[in-house]
C-alpha cells in the first residue's frame, strides 16, 4: 500500500487551498483505490498486481494532478520545488558531463607529461651530458656560470630519481593499480568524483612541474652558454686539458723524485683523470691537430670577421641607392671572403 500513498503524494501535494482540502481529496482518492484493489484481489490477482492495475486504471499521477489543479489551483511552493528538482536533475547530468571531460583532460595531460619525461630521459639528457662533459657549456663569466651549475645540479638530482622509478616501473604500476582499485571499491559518498579529480589533478601538477623543471634545467645552460659556445673554440678546451695533463705529470715527477709515494698516487690519479677526459672529448682529435695550426686558424677567423663587417658598407650603399658604390663594396666583400676561404 506504500505505492498507493506514494501515488497520492504525487497527485495531492500541488493542490492549492487549505491543508484540509488536500487531506479530504487524498482520503477520497485513497478509498477509491482501495476499493479497486479489493475488487481485483477478489478477481484473483495478487496484491502487487492488483495495486498496479488499480493505479493504471486510475491514470498517471501527473494527469490526475493536472485535472485537480485545473479545478482547485496549484500551490506555488510545490511548483517552485518541482522546478528546483528539475533543475537539479539537469545540473547533475551536466555535472556528470563536465566531470567526465575534466577526468579525460587530466588523464591525457598525465599521459603526455609521462611521454615527455620519458623521451627527455632517453634522448635529450644523454646528449646534454655528453655536451657538458665536453666542457662546451660554460658561461662568459663566473656569475652567470653559477646558474648553469645550479641547473646542472637540478638535472642531476632529477635524472637518478627518474631512473630509479623507471627501474621499478612494474612495481610502481602494480602499487598504483592496487591503490586505485581499493579507492574505487571502498570509498563511497558524493565527494568520490571530486577526490578522484583531485588525485588526477595533483598527479598532473607534479608531472607538469617535473617536466617544466627538466626542460628549464636543460635549456638554461644552453641559453647561457650559447654566446660562449659561439665565441670559444674547441681548441681552447683541449688546450686546457693538455695543460692539465702536463701539470699533473710535472707534479708526479716531482713527488717521485721526493720519494713522496702518497703524493705520487694523487698526482697519478690527477693525470689519469685528465687524460681520460681528453680521450672522452669528441672534439679532441681534430682540435689537437689544429692546435699546431692555431695561428692560421686565428687568421682565418679574423679574415672571416672582416668579410662579415664589409657587408655593412654594402648595406649602406643599398640604402643610399648607389649602384656603383654597391658594386665597389660588394667587390671588396668578395675579395676578403675569397682570401679567407682560400687560406690553407
Amino acid at each position: 500500500m506504500d505505492k498507493i500513498e506514494l501515488y497520492l503524494d504525487q497527485v495531492c501535494r500541488g493542490i492549492a487551498g487549505p491543508r484540509s482540502l488536500r487531506q479530504h481529496i487524498r482520503q477520497e482518492l485513497r478509498e477509491h483505490l482501495l476499493d479497486a484493489v479489493a475488487v481485483h484481489r477478489a478477481a484473483g490477482l495478487p496484491e502487487e498486481q492488483a495495486i498496479t492495475k488499480a493505479l493504471d486504471d486510475f491514470g498517471g499521477p501527473e494527469e490526475v494532478r493536472g485535472d485537480l489543479e485545473t479545478l482547485h489551483g496549484h500551490r506555488l511552493l510545490t511548483t517552485i520545488v518541482d522546478k528546483s528538482l528539475e533543475w537539479k536533475e539537469k545540473t547533475l547530468k551536466a555535472r556528470w558531463l563536465w566531470a567526465t571531460v575534466a577526468h579525460l583532460a587530466l588523464a591525457t595531460l598525465i599521459v603526455l607529461d609521462s611521454f615527455f619525461i620519458a623521451w627527455t630521459m632517453i634522448f635529450l639528457v644523454p646528449s646534454y651530458i655528453k655536451v657538458h662533459e665536453d666542457g662546451l657549456l660554460e658561461a662568459a663569466n663566473t656569475d652567470v656560470q653559477a646558474y648553469v651549475e645550479r641547473a646542472d645540479a637540478l638535472l642531476m638530482t632529477f635524472v637518478p630519481l627518474v631512473n630509479n622509478i623507471a627501474s621499478y616501473w612494474f612495481l610502481w604500476a602494480l602499487l598504483l593499480i592496487v591503490v586505485w582499485g581499493l579507492f574505487e571499491w571502498r570509498v563511497r559518498g558524493e565527494n568520490k568524483s571530486l577526490m578522484r579529480l583531485s588525485a588526477l589533478g595533483l598527479a598532473a601538477l607534479v608531472l607538469n612541474v617535473s617536466a617544466a623543471l627538466t626542460g628549464v634545467s636543460l635549456l638554461v645552460p644552453y641559453v647561457i652558454a650559447l654566446p660562449t659556445l659561439y665565441a670559444q673554440s674547441p681548441e681552447r678546451i683541449v688546450r686546457d686539458d693538455t695543460a692539465a695533463i702536463a701539470t699533473a705529470l710535472e707534479r708526479l715527477e716531482k713527488s717521485v723524485a721526493a720519494r713522496d709515494w702518497k703524493e705520487s698516487e694523487l698526482d697519478l690519479s690527477d693525470a689519469w683523470s685528465a687524460i681520460r677526459d681528453l680521450a672522452g672529448r669528441g672534439a679532441a682529435a681534430p682540435a689537437l691537430l689544429s692546435l699546431a695550426e692555431q695561428p692560421k686558424i686565428d687568421r682565418l677567423r679574423a679574415s672571416l670577421q672582416s668579410a662579415s663587417h664589409s657587408l655593412t658598407d654594402v648595406q649602406n650603399a643599398i640604402l643610399a641607392k648607389d649602384p656603383e658604390r654597391v658594386s665597389a663594396t660588394l667587390k671588396t666583400f668578395r675579395d676578403l671572403y675569397q682570401s679567407a676561404t682560400s687560406q690553407q
Binding site: I25, E28, A36, G59, V64, H72
Partner: protein
C-alpha cells in the same frame, strides 16, 4: 470509444447516475463500467475533478459516511438544482443526438 467524446458527457453521466441513488466515487466508476459492458476506456481519476466541479456548482452534494466495514466513503447525491440541470442537459443531449443522427443517415444514404 473515443475518450474525447466521453470527456464532454461525463458530467451528464454522473448526474444521471446520481439521480437514481446516492453513490460514492468508485461505485460510480464501477456502474459506468458495468452498464456499458466496459465500452468506455477512460481514466477513473478524471471522475473526481468532475465530481468536485459539480459540487462546487451546487448540482450535487457530498458527505462522508461510515459503513459497517469501518471505512469512510464520500457519498454524493443530486440536488434539486442538479435535477433541473440534468433535465436541461438531457434535452440538449437528445437534440444533439437527433441532429448528428440525421447527418449520419444522410451521409449513409449518399454512400
Amino acid at each position: 470509444m473515443d475518450s474525447e467524446l466521453l470527456k464532454g458527457t461525463l458530467s451528464l453521466l454522473i448526474l444521471s447516475l446520481l439521480s437514481r441513488k446516492s453513490m460514492y466515487g468508485y461505485e460510480i466508476a464501477a456502474t459506468v463500467h458495468r452498464d456499458t459492458d466496459g465500452a468506455f476506456n477512460w481514466r477513473e481519476g478524471s471522475l473526481y475533478p468532475n465530481l468536485h466541479k459539480l459540487q462546487a456548482d451546487g448540482l450535487i452534494a457530498g458527505q462522508w459516511e461510515e459503513k459497517d466495514t469501518g471505512r469512510k466513503r464520500r457519498y454524493y447525491h443530486i440536488t434539486q438544482k442538479g435535477r433541473r440541470a440534468l433535465r436541461e442537459k438531457l434535452k440538449s443531449w437528445n437534440e444533439l443526438c437527433q441532429g448528428i443522427k440525421r447527418i449520419l443517415e444522410l451521409t449513409d444514404g449518399q454512400d
